[in-house]
Amino acid sequence: MTAFDPGQQLRVGAQHARWDDTDLWIASVALGSNLDLGDVAAITAGHLDPTRGQYAVIAAALNEHFSASGRNHPVPTWDGL
């Protein structure tokens, strides 16, 4: 059984997307995130655990990117973690 670690999912997603923190932050802002760049950097560095809402918007940003290249929403929803 794997540990519940939503930040890890976002880190792996960002690595696969080859996005840096700024890319992830801008894509999240476009979907309504109120996080600042420092928060996103802290989440991807594992220093801050995202809330359910924060996770949802960052995961959605990544999935939008992946689905544009034909990959079917690989970042799980919060309930699917």
Binding site: T22, I26, A27, V29, R52, A56, E64, S67, H73
Partner: protein, 237 residues
Amino acid sequence: MSDTPLSESLATLSRFFVGDGTLEETLTRVSELTVDAVPAAALVGITMIVEGRQRTAVFTDEAAPEIDQAQYDTDEGPCLDAFRHQQVFVIDSTEEEERWPAFCRAALGHGVHSTMSMPLVVDKLSVGAMNLYAREPHAFGPADRDTGAVFASQAAIVLANAQAYWDAYSLSERLGEAMKSRAVIEQAKGMLMATQGCGEDRAFELLVQASQRENVKLRDVARRIVANATERTGPPA
């Protein structure tokens, strides 16, 4: 101030406004001014890190990137060492030089017989390296080295400012685009909160679910919700 090539080039450099041209135009102008400041240099190239890899970002002659490619292929050369060690490296004769053999062969192949590589350093950080190439051996004497070092220190600041300016410009453009799609998503969330009696996070999850179910972008789902609601309610009386 005397009107030596160095002082003229420095004066021109000091009047630079980096927003007047693209980053590439600024770099090209800096490399052209370098040739003016150090007349022994026949051609100039500037090595920078672009998308994580070293490359000759700008040059005054097509030969410069071709010579530099030998450095990038072997990961050895005076420009790379100037960049890495923040020191000036001079080759008095590419025919006799024993360091960096692949680079020297490439230089000779293009009729370059001496070189001077200077680091571009701002706040102790390397931002690039400036590579000067001459057709004659022993072209760069002590005076050229001093002139080159002074010019490179000023050029580094211009390059760093240009890089910072265009990074900030690019960021603001991207955020501007992001704000456009954000507005309609916020509107759709508000409508879902009102119609479904849910909170903001749940409204966003409903948008995500619809997006994944229909395999359409989230902003397109949001646009449809807003458009449908506008159709139903019509304009205000």
